[in-house]
């Protein structure tokens, strides 16, 4: 199983369908329209792609680019308003466009299966897993009841679910998210389909679970010879899971090549831009800056003349790009196609921009978190959720501290305690020598409210849909800015909008009229309206597309630098944290596992959990070779946690009973680097670094080992 992934990472010989063999799936000039009440929208104007038997094809693009629509068309699920208006979809030589419902039924589930993003909504909550799985062999393979049950049990074993026979009797809600997704994959594979469509199959899952699911898919693919159509916005994931990749932009294929070529020498400026937007796990803070793509994806009615990427492209020339529609041209290799009129003039390199190195001074502590615990008691019973336990760390003035961990690790509840949305159960939080742990926002002095602000996670809920986007900013200015007359407030408002690089007229808009990135900019302006000295950013970019993510992170960093504010940056994305943070705190199930300066966290000695997190990161950079550590299971429930190490149940380096029964000691690897683990530091130092220093990463700063 390792072979497949290793090849993916190292780059492989071009995985072109063997000449002469018919493609399994052939989409040609597919045009998909959605009919509205008054007008119809051309979601996909003409897409072509082929998938060979056994091949894994990745379809990448930002939200709204038509990738899911294309996959849905293959399944014949375009809903009441969607319609294929021209083009063809041939599957195993059979035309699917215009096929009868009976024909489609014979193919769906039997020859083509789909795995959706949300496993919970793909499973019927009132039927047992066994009953749902058995439908597939009963219907498609005419299996008897007992045959079907045996097949299901075997398949559950193949997707590595423990105790398959017991699992068959369970209901979906009794399974964790990762287990549910395994069941959905098992269901999809039961009829041994020739083609499996995967639509963002791991997007809602934690990184360590995602890594395990991707391994599973790769294994099963090898075992059954299934072709995959992988849809994702995550370039790193596509790079490690696919043979060939197509990049979509506004409903068009703009570049297509085998994985190694595409990621090492992308030709289209958009592809280069996308790669420039992703923080590289191999490069430390300050060695490489993200290069956001300006502008936004055009809506179908906004598509310009000529090249659709033109308005956002630095290489745009009116005479070559502004006229006729751009054709898909053959680039360097026979199998490399690019929709760019000027591809020969553009360097086939990743648009990396070097950043300025920053020296992180050991600033004096602005925020001291000492032994903070938070328990939630459920329903007055004895069930206690331990959200945070004995969390201690410091944040220096003007410093950026990254707080990393998977869902349920307590990072958000810690953030809520800092800003005063909740009170700590015990422990102390000191900010500028004021004790905050027990002070809810309402009881905090004005100065304190002004000084600590928060940027929230969800752009769709961060602004009130009923009011103009400027209204919370005006309110904050009036309350804390000391501005009395209207003109002053308006002037400051304009300054703030300029700070987050939004045009002035945005102020009067409603949130529904802004894009996700723009809403997040407003949220940042709102946070900075009170001239805060500490910003708590809780996953501020996790809901955004990569190109927007890069822009928001860059913006946040530049404002932070300009205003000298202290930033607590909470994220589950290690590469992003590495890009942003001076110091890093790694949490698991409410406890701090490891903390230290960024360069110390990303090199041995690692806490075993940090090691696993790092190896679960998917990097599109083929030159970085990665160790593989896979965790079993998922984060256990934080209700009534056992004594001992929180991570013991999943740890790949578990020593023995001591891990289950005795809380691990906190060892000082350096004065600034602490690891909470029973394994001795000397042992941990011997661990191989997750990222081997090759080519780029050696210059990029994984050089502290």
């Amino acid at each position: 199983m390792n072979a497949i992934i290793e090849q993916g990472v190292l780059g492989r010989p071009s995985a072109q369908p063997p000449q002469g063999s018919a493609p399994l799936l052939e989409i040609r000039d597919l045009r998909i329209e959605y009919r509205g009440r008054d007008e119809s929208v051309v979601a996909v104007p003409g897409v072509s792609l082929q998938i060979a038997p056994g091949e894994s094809y990745g379809l990448v693009g930002e939200s709204g680019c038509g990738k899911t629509t294309t996959a849905m068309a293959v399944m014949g699920y375009l809903g009441g308003t969607g319609r294929v208006t021209s083009g063809s979809i041939r599957f195993e030589g059979e035309e699917l466009v215009g096929a009868s419902a009976a024909q489609l039924r014979a193919i769906r589930g039997r020859r083509v299966a789909m795995v959706y993003q949300e496993p919970m909504s793909a499973l019927n909550p009132v039927k047992t897993i066994g009953a749902q799985l058995a439908e597939v062999p009963r219907r498609h393979l005419n299996a008897s009841r007992s045959e079907a049950r045996d097949m299901c049990a075997t398949m559950l074993e193949n997707v590595r679910l423990p105790d398959p026979l017991a699992m068959l009797k369970r209901f979906p809600h009794q399974l964790s998210g990762g287990q549910q997704q395994r069941v959905v994959i098992a269901m999809a594979l039961l009829a041994r389909p020739a083609l499996l469509l995967l639509d963002e199959p791991t997007t809602g899952l934690d990184v360590t679970v995602e890594a395990a699911i991707l391994d599973l898919i790769a294994d099963l693919r090898k075992q059954y010879g299934t072709s995959l159509l992988y849809i994702s916005h995550n370039l790193g994931l596509i790079a490690s899971a696919c043979d060939r990749v197509g990049i979509m932009y506004s409903g068009e294929m703009i570049e297509e090549a085998d994985t190694a070529t595409l990621f090492s020498s992308p030709r289209h400026p958009y592809t280069q831009g996308l790669l420039g937007c992703i923080p590289a796990i191999g490069s430390a803070k300050g060695t490489r800056s993200l290069a956001p793509i300006p502008g936004h994806l055009p809506l179908p009615h906004e598509r310009p003349q000529g090249c659709w990427f033109g308005p956002r492209c630095a290489h745009f020339r009116e005479e070559t790009c502004g006229g006729n529609a751009i054709a898909l041209l053959q680039a360097d290799a026979l199998t490399h196609h690019v929709r760019c009129a000027r591809w020969q003039d553009i360097d086939a390199a990743r648009a990396d921009t070097a950043g300025e190195a920053i020296q992180a001074a050991d600033a004096q502590a602005a925020l001291v978190i000492d032994a903070v615990s938070k328990q939630y008691v459920l329903g007055g019973s004895k069930r206690v959720v331990q959200a945070n336990e004995q969390v201690s760390f410091e944040v220096g003035k003007g410093e950026i501290v990254g707080l990393v961990g998977e869902s349920g690790c307590g990072k958000s509840s810690l953030a809520r305690m800092l800003v005063g949305l909740e009170a700590a159960s015990s422990g102390s939080i000191r900010f500028d020598d004021t004790e905050l742990a027990q002070l809810p926002a309402k009881k905090r002095p004005r100065d304190m409210l002004k000084s600590i602000q928060m940027v929230f996670q969800n752009p769709d809920s961060t602004l009130n849909p009923s009011h103009s986007v400027a209204s919370p900013i005006r309110r904050a200015l009036k309350k804390f800015g000391g501005y009395k007359d209207k003109a002053q407030i308006e002037q400051r408002l304009q300054q703030l909008l300029q700070l987050v690089r939004l045009p002035a007229e945005v102020a009067q808009r409603r949130p529904a009229q802004l894009s996700g990135g723009q809403k997040q900019r407003i949220a940042i302006a709102r946070a900075f309206a009170t001239d805060p000295s500490l910003i708590v950013a809780d996953e501020p970019v996790s809901a955004l597309d990569v190109s927007v993510q890069a822009a928001i992170v860059t913006l946040l960093l530049s404002i932070q630098k300009e205003q000298q504010s202290t930033l607590l940056f909470i994220s589950h994305d290690l590469a992003l944290v590495r890009h942003v943070a001076d110091r890093v705190v790694v949490m698991y199930l409410g406890r701090v596992m490891e903390k230290g300066r960024a360069e110390e966290i990303f090199a041995p000695p690692y806490h075993p959990y940090t090691e696993a997190l790092l190896s679960a990161v998917h990097s599109p950079d083929a030159s970085v070779k990665q160790e593989r550590v896979r965790l079993t299971g998922e984060t256990p429930s934080p209700i009534n946690v056992p004594p001992g190490c929180r991570f013991a149940s999943r740890c790949h380096r578990k020593l023995g009973d001591i891990c289950d029964t005795v809380a691990p000691p906190v060892r000082d690897a350096t004065p600034t680097h602490q690891i909470a683990c029973h394994i001795s530091l000397d042992e941990l130092r011997k661990v191989r670094p997750v990222f081997h220093a090759t080519l780029q990463s050696s210059q990029a700063g994984a050089n502290n080992e």
Binding site: S289, L290, P294, G295, H296, L299, E302, P311, T353, G355, E356, I358, R416, V419, G420, L421, A441, K442, R444, R446, L449, I452, Q453, M454, F456, Q457, N458, S461, T462, L463, N464, P465, S466, H467, P472, R475, A476, K479, F480, Q498, L499, R501, L502, P503, E505, V506, R509, R510, A512, Q513, L514, S515, Q518, A523, R526, T554, L557, S558, K561, E562
Partner: protein
């Protein structure tokens, strides 16, 4: 990292058009045929009710002795007269004035009470919610009509009493709707942002939460006005409506049922009036739901 030039080109704004969101909500509503038909029916009655004093109508209480002999429609009485010789058309139009005053007024007061209860229960939770819930259960467990009859029969029929009865009967239902909405809305990040500004609870309720309840509440208000019109009709039919000789649609049906086999128009006309007005409000509510669904 590179510092971004603050004078860099501002981002293009994603959406086209500058019209504010609420205006578009009304445009969408007027594009719904259901809503337009409903609204036309309501406007029809509202205009008639407003113009009643200046329309060339006989007095709704005046008895035409001549017409009593033959109460069928004539040039003088377009819809005929009732058994006491009073002009049906005039009574319908003047009756509309009562209905169109009492029903919206009752619902408005009920909304005020219901929103307050629901807001408190949803926002604070805990014992406040438990208290509001038990009270609501109690009221909702009563058959509404029986509740009305008990109330009106005991305190007598008047506009104020009908308003009070409607409020007691409707507030719990409205409260439930608001509580459900608030339970979700209070988790939104903009509410957390307001709490970080140490805004007062009243401000959060009135400014951050309430405006986001308006869609479902408008729909509900429309439906409730319809129900209240029916209720007023039923009370009138049971003899618990506004005291005679005031024109009252329900009362008009009651007074004429005994002769329905001879002169059916006397009962049919007020019934059609009730149906058309209720239908108007229901269609408008449906139209709103359709036009504003997310």
């Amino acid at each position: 990292m590179s510092t971004v030039d603050p004078k860099a080109v501002p981002l293009a704004v994603a959406t086209s058009g500058t019209s504010a969101a609420p205006r578009r909500a009304w445009t969408r509503l007027f594009r719904s045929r259901t809503a337009v038909i409903g609204l036309s029916l309501i406007v029809f009655w509202v205009v008639l009710a407003l113009l009643a004093p200046i329309l060339p109508l006989p007095s709704p209480t005046a008895q035409d002795a001549l017409a009593m002999a033959d109460p069928t429609p004539s040039a003088a009485h377009w819809l005929g007269t009732d058994i006491l010789g009073r002009d049906i058309l005039a009574r319908l139009i003047f009756g509309a004035r009562t209905v169109l005053l009492v029903a919206p007024l009752s619902v408005a007061v009920a909304m005020l009470a219901g929103i307050t209860l629901g807001m408190l229960a949803g926002y604070f939770g805990g014992w406040v919610e438990a208290l509001v819930d038990r009270f609501s259960d109690l009221v909702l467990a009563f058959p509404v009509l029986v509740l009305y009859v008990i109330l009106i029969a005991n305190v007598g029929a008047s506009v104020i009493n009908i308003v009070i009865a409607t409020t007691i009967a409707s507030a719990p239902g409205i409260g439930r709707i608001v509580r459900g909405l608030v339970l979700d809305l209070k988790q939104q990040e903009y509410v957390a942002a307001a709490r970080l500004r140490a805004e007062s609870t009243l401000y959060i309720m009135a400014y951050e939460l309430l405006p986001n309840c308006r869609g479902p509440l408008l729909v509900d208000a429309c439906l409730r006005i319809g129900y209240t019109i029916i209720t007023i009709g039923v009370l009138g039919f049971l003899g618990l409506g506004l005291p005679p000789p005031n024109p009252d649609w329900g009362g008009m049906v009651r007074e004429t049922t005994t002769v329905i086999n001879v002169w059916p128009l006397m009962s049919i006309a007020p019934s059609v009036a009730i149906v058309s007005l209720v239908l108007g409000f229901n269609l408008l509510a449906d139209g709103m739901r359709e036009a504003w669904k997310p």
